[in-house]
């Protein structure tokens, strides 16, 4: 009996191995393509400026933007603005995500609660964030608190929905198994609910971290004296378009970095999904 069992083992092994081999090849190609595309886009941008001869306040050349970046960085002011925006994003994410995870867990577990809460949650999302942001500034002042609040608010929703769906997706048979093993609530959470919900939660997290950048900028637009969003606004006032470009590109870099940090964490924690 055992001979026949072992006979089918090699099939089991070769399948996942060949799959992951193909995956590695495709990933390698993508890794090579990304910088090439970036270089191409910058070249096109430079060509467009050279060809149409736009004035810098309409469309500055890449070189001009680079020079602006270097001067701003050398003066030290740029680091302050980056730092302020990063703090707003970090605190906003901390508050927004922790609230979303906590509430999402509760609403995911108790359908009755979700029925009561969902109209308010949907209502809070149907109002554009730019419409509530001025109100938040009135209530919380134009300091750090209002920016953090706007960021928290915008990051909250995707993480909340993802958590609710994630907790609901827990296999009821596994739930029964843990009950039959007399697992504590704490064990149920750590050993089943959290790992089972994690793939969904990461989906929401990717949305939330990029939206956090939007939140910080919207908050800064409503009145601020530092930050990359403030820099965009300042550049607009001074017709300093290269400065606007510097700030916008840095915002893109921050959003990308956050996104890839989440993806890296996801790959690490959800390795079992990629096999």
């Amino acid at each position: 009996m055992f001979e026949t069992q072992k006979a089918d083992l090699p099939f089991q092994r070769t399948r996942p191995a060949s799959l992951s081999g193909q995956g590695r090849l495709a990933r390698g190609r993508a890794r090579l393509a990304a910088p090439l595309v970036l270089i191409g886009v910058i070249a096109l941008w430079a060509l467009l400026v050279a060809w149409q001869d736009y004035p810098p306040f309409i469309l500055p050349s890449p070189v001009l933007v680079w020079q602006k970046l270097v001067t701003l960085a050398a003066s030290g002011a740029l680091w302050l603005h980056i730092g302020v925006t990063l703090i707003e994003i970090a605190l906003g994410l901390l508050i927004g995500l922790s609230t979303a995870f906590g509430l999402g867990y509760l609403l995911g577990k108790h359908r009755g609660l979700e029925r009561i809460a969902s109209p308010y949650i949907v209502a809070s999302q149907s109002i554009p964030i730019v419409a509530i942001a001025p109100l938040i500034v009135i209530w919380m002042g134009s300091g750090l608190a209002s920016k953090v609040a706007v960021t928290a608010l915008i990051t909250f929703f995707p993480a909340l929905i993802a958590t609710i769906v994630g907790i609901r997706s827990v296999d009821p048979d596994l739930h029964d198994l843990l009950r039959s093993l007399r697992a504590s609530r704490w064990q149920l959470f750590w050993k089943l609910e959290l790992p089972a919900a994690l793939p969904m939660i990461f989906g929401g997290l990717k949305l939330s971290v990029t939206l956090a950048v939007v939140g910080a900028v919207v908050g800064e637009f409503m009145g601020a004296n530092a930050g990359l969003g403030y820099l965009v606004n300042l550049g607009r006032g001074l017709l300093d378009t290269p400065m606007m470009f510097v700030a916008i590109l840095l915002l893109v870099v921050i959003a990308q970095a956050l996104h890839f940090a989440v993806v890296a964490l996801e790959t690490r924690l959800l390795r079992w999904q990629k096999l």
Binding site: M1, F2, T4, Q5, K6, D8, L9, Q12, R15, P16, D171, D173, L174, D176, L177, L178, R179, S180, L181, R182, A183, Q187, K191, L192, P195, A196, L198, L270, W272, Q273, L275
Partner: protein, 257 residues
């Protein structure tokens, strides 16, 4: 069956559900006893409350009436000496095979000792899975995964094994193979097994007794002894005595022969 005190006693247990406002009687009061080291299979038409009975016995849902005793103690909640094997292969996809098998130990002792790890590895080895300790469930076939489930359940050293169509989703060959493996393991561990199955052949091959449940609301209409000698072999299924027994079960369920 020399042990005079039964391992598990079910006395007048019934269960109903409400479907919206309509109450549904899933299970009429049933009573029976399971003896130590015995294998009992429960057969019956779909929707006759077989799974319900199993879940009540496991303490996963409460009975509406009646009482149960497990190893002489009143029983109404999950007990770690009762192992559960569900219809669907419920392994945790994010855990390796070895981690899955160690789950009951982790839950009960909060950490895994080296001795337990060695026991788990040995358990996997007896099932021919020693090369797959660090694989994930999705890398294994259905039959292999159900063997992992069996290994995981045996890790908790259950005195009673409740199985809900454990091999129902497997192909016929794998199913036969796992039936024999279950018999071998059961003989070694002297576990009592109470199994729900759709297959009459499987029921007769494995059981000391076959219980027959009627159409909903489920009622225990027969407790039939299977006087075939042990150890059982697949070759037995083609003997006239075996055919006779399956025919008996079939007519008890009310299926046309």
């Amino acid at each position: 069956m020399s042990d005079p005190t039964p391992v598990f006693v079910v006395d007048g247990v019934s269960k109903g559900f409400t479907d919206g406002r309509r109450p549904i009687q899933a299970l009429q009061p049933v009573s029976f006893q399971l003896h130590a080291g015995e294998i009992v299979c429960l057969v019956g038409p779909s929707g006759s409350g077989k799974s319900t009975l199993l879940r009540v016995m496991g303490g996963l849902i409460a009975a509406d009436s009646g009482a149960m005793w497990f190893q002489g103690q009143p029983h109404d909640a999950p007990n770690t000496a009762i192992g559960f094997v569900f219809q669907k292969t419920n392994l945790m996809p994010w855990r390796t095979i070895l981690q899955n098998v160690l789950l009951p130990i982790e839950i009960q002792q909060n950490k895994v000792s080296t001795a337990e790890r060695i026991r788990a590895e040995a358990m996997l080895a007896t099932m021919g899975l020693e090369d797959f300790e660090h694989a994930y469930p999705r890398q294994l076939s259905g039959g292999m995964n159900q063997r992992v489930v069996l290994a995981r359940t045996l890790m908790q050293q259950p005195r009673l094994l409740l199985m809900d169509e454990p091999f129902g989703q497997l192909d016929a060959l794998t199913r036969e193979r796992l039936n024999l493996e279950l018999l071998r393991l059961q003989a070694a561990e002297e576990t009592t097994i109470f199994m729900v199955t759709h297959s009459i052949t499987e029921a007769v091959l494995l059981s000391d007794r076959v219980f027959v449940l009627s159409e909903r609301p489920g009622k225990l209409i027969a407790q039939m002894s299977v006087p075939l000698p042990r150890p059982r072999h697949l070759a037995m299924t083609s003997t006239p005595a075996f055919g006779e027994l399956t025919m008996q079960v079939r007519s008890l369920i009310g299926e046309p022969n």
